[in-house]
């Protein structure tokens, strides 16, 4: 009975989404206050019913209701309750429901928190978000109903994909989706602006905190995914340039560019049409990512169930939403005039370069991700584009970006006074280069050009970021959240660069065969296979090894990598043993049983890898501090009055 209630709630939510879209857009167009009011009520109603549907599905998982196909496919009576709840979004249908839940949450938040917006504009935003919601609910109800019954009911469920039975992966999808879907707010703001055909600096100020919020979720979500891949997939890699990873990284790049160009639009009234295009692109890339992941047009290690009917639906939806927005853009954007000019050394120039490099990186990744598809469509053969391409092309725009970042942070709007800072910046650059050379030579024993360049850029960005709050504090100047946040986020970017350079340049990976009692040495660490034993988990059996790590005769730690076979079948899963350190990680994964008591072991030495995720968290934290700047929260009484005055009299 409860699954049917959930199904019915979804249908009601769809009807309310239709009402929300119609009354929101038509009410704004015709100036009908009552219609606009109705659209807002529909938002609340839709949120209630989608939450109800989500609750119904969760309850089916908790009650182990294997008469529901989705539950029977993705859980098992042995599955611990925590993972049974996480299994709600463990596969296609449920993750769509989560998508819809996130969207209605964001819509509700926009509706509740944007009372200072001009009524018609707010109503259009609500209407556009309603249109997106219609697409997703319709998709779910027609091709991917999570409440479909299984007749006869299964006695036992097939179990959640063992790869997903992990803490980071249970919270990774919701956070990532909050990011993906969060860009819909900036998208709706942009479309509403294009419909109205005018854009002022308040628009950018409204859009910025929403964009930053979504971007923070995306940053954290991507980092979690990377961290998970590192310890769970058993290869010790942290980024694979897999199509699904790229699908989340491309909106992030667009969102990063958008945050920066919004600053210019807000402060200087420039780049207006470009900012709108980025706002449309960030969400479009989120939708594109959903399409790539869900339709199966690309092969990926993220083995999702695919279905051509679903692919066609999403493609149609994608075409309507993105195509519609881009046509609207082509029609309306030419009217938006950017006002003033600026000098070459002004902050505007640096942000222009920032956008150019970020979008170039985005374009190159998009090209690499879709290249196999293009080749196949043109019958030029099946090919795959691997990490070497991405590593190479990503570096090309990133190096100048980091270089300019260190200067651009100090530039001022309109015309710049970099002269007084010149000596100090040169000083930081020189120190950064020296540290990079010394670190490469002293710590890792050799100097490599790319490693030195990476380290130097990392220290350059970190030093330059620190300089801003330090000099402000010394001069007893105020340190607003926007400035502090910017410094922290950019310091984080430097830290990420440090981590990537360290691990890519100086990692050591070795696959060895060891019997119990044998040892091997990599990077000055002795790894001894001390013992092997059988282990029994709630829904798996496995083998666990004790690997004793010592250096110069001193024991550092004992790691316990596992190889698990889940009762539900499938490939064996690796649980790596990792010794975490500020300077390096030591990584041990159990490979194959080679017979006669010998096992293959994957041993890795990963210098500085922690800084990749630490840096990413700082980036998110910086974004949070900047987004919470008082400037955005000020009650905009004056502005509301101004908007009311400029509203066309009907």
């Amino acid at each position: 009975m409860i699954p049917e209630i959930g199904h019915f709630a979804l249908i009601l939510a769809l009807l309310l989404a239709i009402a929300q879209a119609f009354f929101g857009l038509a009410g704004a167009a015709r100036g009908q206050v009552a219609w606009m009011q109705a659209a807002r009520s529909a938002v609340a109603g839709q949120a209630v019913f989608i939450a109800l549907a989500f609750g119904a599905l969760t309850s089916a998982f908790i009650r182990k209701d294997f008469s529901v196909l989705y539950v029977a496919t993705n859980s098992n009576s042995e599955l611990p309750i925590f993972y049974r709840i996480a299994a709600v979004w463990g596969a296609h249908e449920g993750s769509l429901l989560l998508w819809a839940l996130c969207l209605s949450g964001w819509t509700l938040a926009v509706t509740a928190l944007s009372t200072s917006l001009q009524a018609a504009f707010r109503s259009r935003v609500i209407g556009i978000l309603g249109l997106i919601s219609i697409g997703f609910l319709l998709f779910m109800l027609t091709t991917s109903n999570p409440f479909e019954r299984l007749v006869p009911a299964a006695v036992e469920g097939r179990d959640l994909n063992p790869l997903l039975q992990d803490f980071a992966l249970t919270i990774h999808p919701p956070i990532l989706y909050l990011g993906y879907v969060g860009f819909s707010v900036a998208f709706a703001f942009a479309c509403a602006t294009l419909i109205e055909g005018r854009l002022d600096s308040t628009w950018a100020r409204w859009t910025r905190p929403w964009t930053i919020a979504a971007w923070i979720f995306l940053t954290v979500g991507i980092s979690l995914g990377s961290w998970w891949a590192y310890y769970e997939l058993g290869w010790g890699g942290w980024w694979f340039w897999d199509p699904v990873e790229n699908a989340s990284f491309m909106p992030w790049l667009a969102g990063t560019a958008l945050i920066h160009s919004l600053a210019v639009t807000e402060k200087r009234g420039l780049f207006k049409s470009w900012t709108l295009l980025l706002a449309v692109s960030a969400f479009s890339l989120s939708l594109l990512g959903t399409f790539l992941v869900r339709s199966g047009v690309l092969v990926s290690v993220h083995a999702f169930a695919t279905d051509p009917a679903r692919g066609l639906f999403i493609l149609g939806f994608l075409t309507c939403v993105i195509g519609g927005a881009l046509l609207l853009y082509a029609w309306r954007a030419p009217r938006l005039k950017s006002a003033a000019g600026f000098e070459l050394a002004a902050r505007e120039s640096f942000l222009l370069f920032n956008n150019a490099f970020l979008v170039a990186a985005l374009g190159l990744i998009l090209l690499g991700t879709l290249y196999p598809l293009f080749m196949d469509a043109l019958n030029l053969g099946k090919i795959s584009v691997g990490p070497p391409y991405f590593n190479m092309v990503f570096m090309v725009p990133m190096l100048p970006l980091l270089l300019l970042l260190g200067i651009g942070m100090h530039a001022t709007w309109k015309r710049s006074h970099l002269q007084p800072l010149r000596n100090r910046l040169i000083g930081i650059a020189a120190v950064a280069l020296v540290i990079a050379l010394v670190a490469g030579a002293a710590v890792y024993g050799h100097i490599r050009p790319m490693a030195t360049l990476g380290f130097a850029l990392a220290f350059w960005v970190m030093g330059s970021s620190l300089m801003i709050p330090l000099s402000r504090l010394r001069a007893r100047q105020a340190l607003p959240g926007a400035v502090l946040g910017m410094s922290i986020a950019h310091f984080g970017a430097g830290l990420v660069t440090l981590g990537i350079t360290g691990v890519q340049s100086f990692k050591i990976e070795q696959d060895v065969a060891l019997a119990v009692g044998e040892a091997t040495t990599i990077a000055g660490y002795d790894f001894r296979l001390a013992a092997l034993r059988q282990v029994q988990g709630p829904n798996f059996v496995g083998v666990e090894a004790d690997v004793l790590i010592s250096s110069d005769g001193k024991t550092i730690t004992t790691l316990h990598p596992q190889k698990r076979l889940y009762n539900s079948g499938g490939n064996p899963m690796t649980e790596a043993g990792i010794e975490v350190g500020a300077a390096r990680d030591l990584f041990v994964a159990l490979g194959e049983d080679l017979g006669q008591g010998r096992w293959s072991l994957r041993l890795q030495y990963k210098p500085l890898i922690r800084y990749i995720w630490l840096g990413a968290l700082l980036i998110a934290l910086g974004g949070g501090i900047a987004g919470l700047d008082r400037r955005y929260r000020r009650v905009k009484a004056g502005e509301t009055a101004m908007d009311a005055a400029t509203e066309p009299s009907r």
Partner: protein, 178 residues
């Protein structure tokens, strides 16, 4: 007018992208043409699964079309396609040869005893050497070899009636005609 046309560029680029997606959706990205197609089938001589004393080889079937199906008892897809294989053998158009891959003899024999044996003969390849020669990615895979001893087609993944009728039968008919 001309200046405002550049605002249309994103929409045009996107339209081109959609075009590619429409074509891409019609194609299955997991279909990878085997480099073997059109080349002579790799020779092999292996022990028979049923009887270690007897040998099974590609040469046994020279001069007529035949199928090679790579399977193993640990492979879920193989169990799934088993009924279709039985039916193909029942139709009797051509012999089906099994390549039992990285498996245990006793388990494989038990499997055939339980599920029925669609194979004219089964080659036993516990170390997977022959499978490497044939460029096997995983089980199940099915190769069609023509009367001239050349590989005509390779199916990666589970065989179904639909795939059999769509991909294999036309090739077989064309091969007989020539």
């Amino acid at each position: 007018m001309k200046a405002s046309l550049r605002f249309l560029v994103p929409a045009v680029l996107f339209a081109a992208l959609v075009g590619f997606f429409v074509v891409g959706l019609q194609k299955d990205p997991s279909v990878i043409r085997s480099p073997l197609i059109g080349k002579p089938a790799p020779a092999f001589t292996l022990e028979s699964l049923e009887d270690p004393a007897r040998k099974v080889g590609a040469a046994d079937f020279a001069g007529r079309p035949w199928l090679l199906n790579v399977w193993a008892t640990w492979c879920g897809g193989c169990r799934q396609e088993h009924a279709v294989l039985l039916e193909i053998t029942r139709e009797g158009r051509l012999p089906l040869v099994g390549l039992n891959w990285r498996d245990e003899r006793a388990l494989a024999q038990q499997w055939l005893a339980q599920l029925g044996n669609p194979y004219a003969s089964v080659a036993f390849d516990p170390e997977g050497r022959t499978a490497i020669d044939w460029g096997v990615y995983g089980a199940p895979e099915t190769f069609l070899i023509g009367a001239d001893g050349k590989v005509l087609h390779k199916q990666i993944g589970v065989m179904t009636q639909e795939i059999w009728r769509r991909d294999f039968l036309p090739l077989l008919a064309a091969g007989k005609g020539s």
